[in-house]
């Protein structure tokens, strides 16, 4: 499998790898969810996207029992534990227990 690490190593060399890894780590670190409040931090999200979140009725805590982002087909779970999830509809962090009016349940066929 051609991993990101192999790609960087083969194209930029080992020196760059250290830098790249450091950048990658620092990015991961900045994405790391440190508390439940961090997934509500939309300071890095554009005004337009924030407006979109509002328009779609996104809330961090679902008002509808058993309908939450983590059970929605548009939810993109965090790549690793501690990160925030995302949504296919709008940019920015998403709480697993959140909700929006576009909720579409994951379904089995």
């Amino acid at each position: 499998m051609n991993t990101r690490r192999q790609f960087i190593k083969s194209t930029l060399g080992i020196g760059s790898l250290a830098l790249g890894s450091a950048l990658l780590l620092s990015r991961c670190k900045s994405k790391k969810k440190t508390s439940s409040a961090s997934c509500n931090d939309v300071s890095g999200v554009s005004k337009e996207e924030q407006e979109k979140r509002k328009k779609l009725g996104y809330v961090a805590v679902t008002p509808v029992a058993d309908s939450k982002c983590s059970t929605c087909k548009l939810y993109l779970p965090p790549a690793q534990t501690g990160d925030c999830g995302h949504c296919a509809l709008f940019k920015g962090p998403v709480e697993a227990g959140g909700y929006c009016t576009y909720f579409a349940p994951l379904s089995e066929e």
């Binding site: 328009k55 779609l56 029992a65 790549a79 009016t101």
Partner: protein, 719 residues
């Protein structure tokens, strides 16, 4: 172009540049327009559009109304005199700026009786977020988020001249998910969908009532009693109430769900592990049989989303077509114009698939909920389908002429614009078609339209009562509503006679509830309802018996012999009382239908069914190991006891953990697990207690009698 030409003839460099810009602008517009037309087909005129619709054999579709009389129709109702009102939602999909609202309510008129609208009158103009209407006291109730309004024409010109705000405080940020779908129920309540949106509702006629939270709920109210409360849901756009008062709601991806236990029961106390009481009843989800082409934007968006899912290593696939995603306007048909097999069906539009889906509802005696099935012959096709991608069936109306009417929004695009990537949105005009709309009449293939003639508003109360048994239940419901509005008690003898003698259970149900609205119920009538031959009348009798404790023995008897539907309601209604005979009855109900989760929830929703004394009663009845419900019920009951965290009950519960039947079938483990979960969610448990329970849970591999001892130690120390 004439203006451009004359501008270009102006002899100056400035004008040459301006001319160049103008040409460039129009050239670009033309190209974009061409591209849009190539990608997305244009509209069909009304008479061609109706030809593009394919309906099941034996029925036909006629055009009832079209532009300019109607555009963007989303709801249609007939008042008691047959006047037809339609809500136009032309601001969709964006919210209008204040003062620029284009929503309307129009009166549609067929002056020559040929079955086609030839005149329309604007009843209400500049309506913001109007989505549904309901005739009431000569006017109309209107859902227009964030409000429910009352509008009335007092001068006879079909133009509303009074405008009142009845309810305020509903969510207003998404036109696809707001307060909507007003329906008058046979139980005298008016029901509306709210999609669970948060809001704190105030009512003009009950200013003393504190603002009501409708978070997670739908909504219901009674104008004759100034009552309003949350209702179980949530439904999106589409609410079908059947003749028996069962409620079905539409959600974009789940085309038919049934609400099972009303909100007032699931919120009698705050200790239930879950209050969700809605069920997808379709046996054929999520497939629909689409015949129209997939729009380019949708195919492309789906492709991208699937790529995103794969990149995220998610075992998930989004479908661009053939799966319900735009279900809309589920409506119960109870008219007499279509052949008998269509009676009691639920019709749902699918705006993304350009089709109408039909569900046949069945419920065996041992089932709590209905099953929605495809009709014979519709296993591989839909009730109505079209290849015209502009066909947007959003809603329906079961009408006084007995036929089913279909509202076609008729738009090039229906989608929340913000849900489409910007590059795909380029060239898409979301208002293309906002000047168009069609309403169709569905009738038997060989029939000819005949306009009905009636004026229920002019009829006396006594002459309205026989309409309860009308084969077209539209008349029954209007008569029922008019009698509730009028509050004319002189009709009571006629209604009582109808209740005693009507052969039609639907008529007896209308009579029962009109008596309730007229404060004319007494214990003998309620007892008669409890022993009615119809399970449905029995179930409603149980609701009304909650105010008559003397009826409790009959209610308990119904638990022993009633159908599953009756047993569920008997449990809910007996839950209004709290004594040992009620707990014994609950055990009876659980032994008969305890495998149904709603029956378990019904027991737990009651004070009597959610305490340690319920567990004691259960254990004393020596429930068999093989009973499937036992473990989930024991776990949820223990959760309630933990969440309530009442010291006496906790102590009692802990003594019950050593009861001989508990170690059987792993029940001790589920009881303790449920109890600890409840304690951790308890609002009155101290931080020290919660920490002790969490510490106990950590490192707990097996639950044994030692665990019981540990729990005893914790509660002895902390309580």
């Amino acid at each position: 172009m004439t203006r451009i030409k004359s501008a270009c003839q102006m002899p100056s460099a400035t004008w040459s540049i301006r001319c160049l810009y103008l040409f460039l602008f129009f050239a670009c517009s033309a190209v974009t327009g061409c591209k849009n037309n190539a990608t997305y087909p244009g509209p069909l005129p009304p008479d061609q559009a109706v030809q593009s619709l394919s309906i099941v054999p034996g029925l036909k579709i006629e055009l009832f109304a079209a532009e300019p009389h109607v555009a963007d129709p989303v709801a249609m109702e007939f008042d008691e005199d047959g006047n037809c009102y339609v809500v136009l939602m032309s601001d969709y999909p964006e919210q209008p700026e204040p003062g620029k609202e284009r929503g309307q309510i129009r009166v549609l008129r067929d002056t020559d009786g040929d079955g086609r609208i030839d005149t329309s009158i604007v009843f209400a103009d500049k309506l913001s977020e109007g989505t549904s209407i309901l005739p009431w006291k000569g006017g109309l109730l209107v859902t227009a988020a964030p409000e429910i309004l009352y509008m009335k024409d007092t001068t006879g010109d079909f133009v509303a001249d009074t405008h009142e705000v009845l309810f305020s405080g509903f969510f207003r940020d998404n036109p696809e998910a707001q307060i909507t779908n007003l329906r008058f129920g046979a139980d005298n309540w008016i029901y509306a969908n709210n999609r669970g949106q948060e809001g704190n509702i105030t009512f003009k006629d009950n200013p003393a009532a504190p603002p009501l939270s409708v978070k997670g709920a739908d909504f219901r109210f009674r104008l004759d009693r100034h009552l309003f409360e949350p209702e179980t849901g949530p439904g999106q756009f589409g609410q079908a109430l059947d003749d028996d008062g069962n409620r079905f709601v539409t959600e974009n991806s789940i085309h038919i769900q049934q609400t099972l236990i009303p909100w007032r029961y699931t919120h009698r106390h705050p200790y239930l592990p879950t209050v969700r009481s809605i069920r997808n009843i379709s046996d054929h989800d999520p497939i629909m049989h689409q015949q129209s082409a997939t729009p380019y934007w949708r195919a492309e968006r789906t492709k991208r989303r699937n790529a995103e899912f794969q990149a995220s290593k998610l075992a998930r696939v989004e479908y661009e077509r053939d799966h319900f995603t735009g279900a809309s306007g589920g409506t119960y048909y109870n008219g007499d114009g279509l052949p008998a097999p269509f009676y009691g069906n639920v019709f749902t539009g699918e705006v993304a698939g350009n089709l109408v889906h039909r569900d046949v509802l069945t419920r065996p005696a041992d089932s709590i909920f209905f099953t929605a099935r495809r009709a014979p012959g519709e296993e591989k096709r839909e009730f109505i389908f079209s290849t015209d991608t502009w066909f947007r069936p959003v809603n329906f109306c079961s009408a006084p002429d007995g036929y089913l009417y279909l509202l076609d929004f008729y738009r090039q695009h229906i989608e929340t614009p913000s849900a489409i990537p910007d590059d795909l949105k380029a060239g898409m005009d979301f208002y293309n078609g906002s000047d168009k709309g069609r309403i169709y009449r569905i009738m038997p293939a060989g029939s000819r339209y005949k306009k009905p003639s009636f004026q229920l508003s002019k009829m006396s109360g006594d002459s309205l009562v026989p309409l309860f048994a009308h084969p077209n239940q539209w008349y029954a419901l209007q008569a029922h509503r008019l009698l509730v509005e009028r509050q004319d008690k002189s009709v009571i003898p006629a209604i009582k006679k109808m209740f005693r003698q009507a052969g039609d259970a639907r008529a007896r149900l209308h009579a029962l509830y009109v008596l309730e609205a007229l404060d004319a119920l007494d214990i003998s009538i309620v007892q008669q309802a409890l022993t009615d031959s119809s399970a449905n009348v029995q179930a409603h009798g149980l609701v009304l018996a909650e105010h008559y404790p003397a009826c409790a023995p009959v209610m308990i008897a119904l638990i022993k012999k009633g159908s599953a539907q009756v047993v569920l309601q008997a449990v809910l209604s007996l839950g209004q009382f709290n004594n040992q005979s009620v707990r014994d009855a609950f055990v009876q109900a659980l032994s008969r239908y305890g495998y149904h989760k709603p029956v378990q929830m019904a027991v737990l929703s009651a004070e009597a069914g959610s305490t340690s004394y319920m567990l004691e009663t259960l254990l004393a009845n020596n429930i068999s190991d093989t009973t499937k419900f036992a473990n989930t019920f024991v776990q949820d009951l223990s959760y309630c006891i933990g969440a309530r965290n009442d010291q006496a009950q906790v102590n009692h519960f802990l003594t019950l953990l050593t009861h001989p039947p508990l170690p059987l079938n792993n029940r001790l483990a589920v009881a303790i697990t449920g109890f600890m979960n409840g304690i951790e969610k308890s609002t009155n448990a101290s931080p020290a207690l919660i920490k002790s329970i969490k510490d106990l849970r950590t490192g707990l591999h097996n639950i044994t009698n030692q665990t019981v001892a540990e729990l005893n130690k914790i509660f002895t120390t902390i309580h």
